[in-house]
Amino acid sequence: MVADHEHSEPPLIRLEGVTKVYGTGEAATYALRGIDIRIGQGEFVAVMGSSGSGKSTCLNIVGCLDTPSSGSYLFRGTEVGKLTRNQRALLRRQYFGFVFQGYNLLSRTSALENVELPLIYRGVVRSKRRELAGKALAAVGLQGRETHSPAELSGGQQQRVAIARALVTEPDVLLADEPTGNLDTARSLEIMDLLTALNRDRGITIVIVTHENEMARYADRIINFVDGEVESDARHGEVA
């Protein structure tokens, strides 16, 4: 198992000594205090920890939404910290899909148009966008709801739209920050089943942030954050 970490091919995601500091001087607070994580292609990772432990910050850095204050983050061998805002946007566009806790759908915009959004920035033509977005919605079990606006959908359905939006570009990595945070247990388990299927069937690398053990159990690997540091990093079945 350990040998897997030292794979000859460079890992998809490699964080080394990553810190994140907010504020300066005495007001400086450390969100991350030097973490080392490697995530390979096709892994399903759950990042756990209490609130303020730095798990969301870590996810934002992995998703190229944020940059480390120090340390190195290599994504596919590229040092993300040295990229410009626009270069990071291009990485997100190309390789990442995001699912947020609050769904973050465009209000007063149909489910189909919400899912189309990332494709617009990829320069996909309108008819092709419609087709891909329709397929993505079908993949999350929302066929027939294309014209509904978020307000007309339940929380679970909204989160499925958000997942469809993250999937529509066929990303290498799907990042989900508390994807089940606003849902009841039954809906949560549905969403987790959906994510598991995506990981298994499409080989999409998935990193979810959660504080619920029940959800984390779906992952192959659980990384535990405490106070900005990695407390444990264990594969399924291993003892933490």
Partner: protein
């Protein structure tokens, strides 16, 4: 990308129809005001030019004193009859010379009275100014020489005193002077500066000098130059003659003014153009205010849509793409305003032209400039909010409530 931004902008505007309408109102009014002002001003300029052209282009007006600027002149001795005679003798190419002295007077006939201007002159006045008699006759030589108590009425004065009655032969009072009406003039209507040219009474110059003014002064001299002759040449000759007659040494300036009607045309059109420019500038300020209104609403819109911007950035929108989206939205808004302003301006111009009895002259240039200006307002005032949107931090934007 641009097409998408354009569609998004329309979508966003449709979503907030009322707010969009109120936002562009400032630009609508600004553009409409600029175009209307300039169009009406242009019409007025055309009108001035046309009216002066109808007077003839070969008229010189000589007045005592030197023009200091608009309406001001330095004091100087008036002219005398000898000056007029000398001009007639010594200036070539003169078609007619009319001496004129005038003052305000109240005319009375029966119960009717009318405040007007009485002008002492002679029959040459009719020739110089292209006046035709509607009724009656000109002054006779003996009336001119002896200062007879006779008068010729302008059309307005005749109408005000006599209405439809026959005025010929009636006696009217000009202040203290009682005189007999021997004729009346055809109407010429308003002058370029809005003065009613028919609002005058003509009496022999001698009568004016003896019975009203009590002096031998002549207020101004009108000279018409023969067709085909050079007015510039005549102007020069008159200047030289008058300098000699008024004993002005070579180092001194003229103490009289010779004005070519062409100069007056230039002056008046210049004045209207300055006024037009001024009004246009004031209107342009309102366009600026309209632009600030757009900026204000765009800033509100950017704040309101912070999460949307966060989502767009998170899924990989470039700064440039977010900037374009909001900039296009501002430009579409202001262009709608501009287009509506153009329509409003055309309607307002036609109505205002009618109300002010000024010809409606469509100035395509200012319509285009007005519209482009509104587009420019969108670019300038849309840029700041758009940049604010583009520079947002995606994480903070997503957290925004």
């Amino acid at each position: 990308m641009l097409y998408n931004a354009f569609r998004l902008a329309l979508h966003e505007i449709r979503r907030n129809v009322m707010r969009s309408l109120l936002t562009i109102l400032g630009v609508v009014i600004g553009v409409a005001a600029v175009i209307t002002m300039v169009t009406i001003g242009g019409g007025a300029t055309v009108q001035v030019t046309e009216q002066i052209a109808s007077l003839g282009t070969n008229l010189l007006i000589i007045t005592p004193g030197q023009r200091m600027g608009m309406g001001q002149r330095a004091a100087a001795p008036p002219f005398e009859m000898d000056d007029v005679d000398a001009m007639g003798r010594e200036i070539g190419a003169v078609a007619a010379i009319a001496p004129i002295s005038s003052r305000p007077v109240t005319t009375i006939f029966g119960n009717a009275n009318w405040s007007t201007t009485v002008m002492g002159t002679d029959n040459q006045y009719l020739k110089v100014g292209n006046w035709a008699l509607e009724m009656g006759r000109e002054f006779t030589d003996s009336e001119l020489r002896a200062g007879g108590a006779v008068c010729i009425l302008g059309a307005t004065v005749r109408r005000e005193l006599f209405g439809n009655q026959d005025a010929l032969g009636s006696k009217i009072r000009l202040g203290k002077l009682s005189c007999q009406v021997i004729g009346s003039l055809h109407s010429k209507g308003q002058s370029t500066i809005g003065r009613d040219r028919d609002d005058a009474v003509l009496i022999p110059l001698r009568t004016f000098q003896r019975r009203l003014a009590g002096n031998q002064d002549i207020g101004l001299i009108q000279v018409s130059i023969q067709r085909g002759a050079s007015t510039a040449r005549a102007e020069q000759d008159i200047k030289e003659l008058m300098r000699k007659r008024r004993h002005i040494s070579a180092s001194e300036d003229d103490d009289f003014t010779v004005m070519d009607l062409k100069d007056i045309t230039k002056m008046l059109t210049g004045t209207t153009q300055v006024l037009t420019g001024l009004l246009g500038a004031v209107a342009a300020v309102s366009l600026l205010v309209g632009g600030i209104g757009i900026m204000n609403i765009m800033l509100v819109s950017v704040t309101e849509r912070t999460r949307e911007i966060g989502i767009r950035l998170a899924v990989g929108a470039l700064e440039r793409e977010v900037l374009t989206q909001f900039l296009v939205e501002a430009i579409v808004l202001s262009s709608f305003g501009g287009a509506a302003g153009v329509v409003l301006a055309l309607v307002a111009s036609v109505l205002a032209a009618k109300a002010l009895s000024v010809p409606f002259v469509l100035n395509v240039g200012i319509v285009i400039v007005g519209f482009l200006f509104s587009v420019g307002v969108g670019v300038v005032f849309g840029y700041f909010p758009a940049r604010k949107a583009a520079r947002m931090d995606p994480i903070e934007a997503l957290r925004h409530e």
